[in-house]
């Protein structure tokens, strides 16, 4: 089975600072993959590149959809022309197209949707509206049909609202649907953000520290939800997390980053016992208390 997401030789430079150099890993369809590493290792940068928030300086990020389409997540952001483009009209045309019409929105439409560590909800809209905005593909965004409330428009709206309520109920936010997102308690905002991401119909759901700031009970619920999403909704999950218990519990594959490079990857147990990983975390070999 081929990977859903393939990252190869990913490089990200900010001026002279190299944040990522030659990062490569794969995310298998239907898996839960965790990205871990010490602070400043480049985990969030990898996420930013994969989800279209940054345009990577080099390398390849490919999303292989089940329909057999292959989306280059760097190209769709409208990268600069390369030497090869001048010989091949096809490549040139694609580059030009994405330069004109490309952007982060295409990553979401290809099926990569994320949450943020510092929650980014539309705070002055209700929880329900937050979920409706994410259903861009489902609702009718035209001015005229909206003003006239045509039958197709109303049908699409009703379906979107129904779906939004489904996800609100799924994350036990059923009572909060009509409250402003910014008024919700912190833990609920986190859940709402995941619910919103689910409304965008993701193939690959990227969660940036979903358990940050949650109490142990909420974290346990979160891990159940993530597993339920994978099982019941065919979503592949990629997450950054510092809570090692959560990582060990739910992930199938762990990728460890340090100083912008992958230093280990494999099954959780194997990674946990890898001396290189321990050294990266603790600074000295042989001390295991940190885990």
């Amino acid at each position: 089975m081929s990977a859903l997401l393939t990252v190869r030789e990913l490089t990200m430079r900010f001026g002279g600072v190299v944040a990522l150099s030659g990062v490569g890993f794969e995310v298998a369809p239907g898996s839960v993959t965790a990205l871990i590493g010490p602070n400043g290792a480049g985990k969030t940068t990898v996420f930013n590149c994969v989800t279209g928030f940054y345009r990577a300086s080099g390398g390849e990020i490919l999303l292989n959809t089940p329909e057999g389409r292959r989306v280059d997540l760097i190209e769709i952001l409208g990268g600069p022309f390369r030497a090869g483009d001048w010989w091949s009209p096809r490549a040139f045309g694609r580059r030009l197209y994405y330069k004109m019409f490309g952007g982060a929105a295409l990553a979401a439409r290809a099926g990569v949707v994320r949450t943020f560590q510092n929650i980014r909800l539309f705070k002055e809209m209700t929880a329900l509206e937050n979920l409706l905005v994410a259903q861009r593909a489902r609702v009718d965004n035209a001015i005229v049909s909206g003003l006239c409330a045509t039958r197709a428009y109303r049908a699409a709206e009703a379906e979107a609202v129904e779906r939004a309520w489904y996800w609100l109920d799924f994350f036990r936010l059923g009572d909060e649907g009509n409250r402003l997102a910014g008024e919700l308690a912190y833990g609920r905002q986190r859940r709402l953000e995941i619910a919103r991401a689910m409304c965008a119909a993701p193939r690959l759901l990227c969660l940036d520290e979903p358990a940050a700031g949650l109490n142990p009970q909420e974290t346990a619920e979160l891990s159940d939800w993530i597993l339920a999403l994978r099982r019941g909704h065919g979503v592949t999950v990629c997450l950054i997390e510092h809570d090692m218990r959560l990582v060990m519990e739910i992930s199938d594959h762990v990728v460890v980053l340090d100083h912008g490079q992958v230093i280990a990857a494999g099954r959780p147990q194997a990674v946990r016992d890898d001396p290189v990983v321990l050294e990266a975390y603790l600074g000295a070999p042989g001390e295991e208390e940190g885990w």
Partner: protein, 307 residues
Amino acid sequence: MNFHILVQQTVNGLVLGSVYGLIAVGYTMVYGIIGMINFAHGDVYMIAAYLTAIFLAALTALGIHSPPVVMILVLLLTMACTALYGWSVERIAYRPLRHSTRLAPLISAIGMSLILQNYVRLSQGARNQGTPTFLDGHLRLLEDGPDHFVQITHAQILIVVMAVIGMGLLWYLIQGTAMGRACRAVQQDRIMAALLGVDTDRIISIVFILGAAMAAVAGTLVTFNYGSFDFFIGFVTGIKAFTAAVLGGIGSLPGAMLGGIILGLAESIFSGFVNTDYKDVFAFSLLVVVLIFRPSGLLGRPEVEKV
């Protein structure tokens, strides 16, 4: 203090305020969504006045004379054409500079304003132009004696009614439809909206189009009412409408309308009772006083620092 003058000036102020409000909506929406002032917006209003005259002449030449039909057709055609101008302004002056420094689109918008003014001056002439005003009727209220009455022209009533209808439709569009929801999302966090798959460029274009269409309503109705315009009317009216938007709280849709009405009333009552020459001084002093006590305008919310 003369009661009739007060009522008359209040009526005039409401009419003027509706016009300011309709134009201010364009400023406030564009500011809300991209955080920049559209300096070409006043000139889009001026273009609407010219287009009104052109369409009036064209329809008359085609033999359509029934006033209601002509008015509706002219209004719709002008709105459509002006919307195209608004869209072009965004496409030419803003979108290519989207990822540039903050000041660059400001300069290009000023350039756009100069281009529009001079394009109209070259193609239509620098002289003051006029159209026949064909809504000549008026009402007289509170009439007691030959010099004591309040006169409201039909065109003035039309301006207020159309402003209310236009604002109502716009409000419904923004608050009640899927498109408006996407607009509000883009306004709050453009990057997050894009990461959820919303086509933010399209939404920004739509906001420019809506703003221009509202300015077109103002341009058309003012032309119906006064019948006189030149290539420079966009500047002063634009500045006033922008003041109205700031007064009401820039970024806030009801604020723009409220700011417009307050500014219109202030100007008109001041010129009725004190002095016509200093009406602008009074209007801007009002702005200064409001901003001292409410720095983000009457209905505006304080700027939240974005991460």
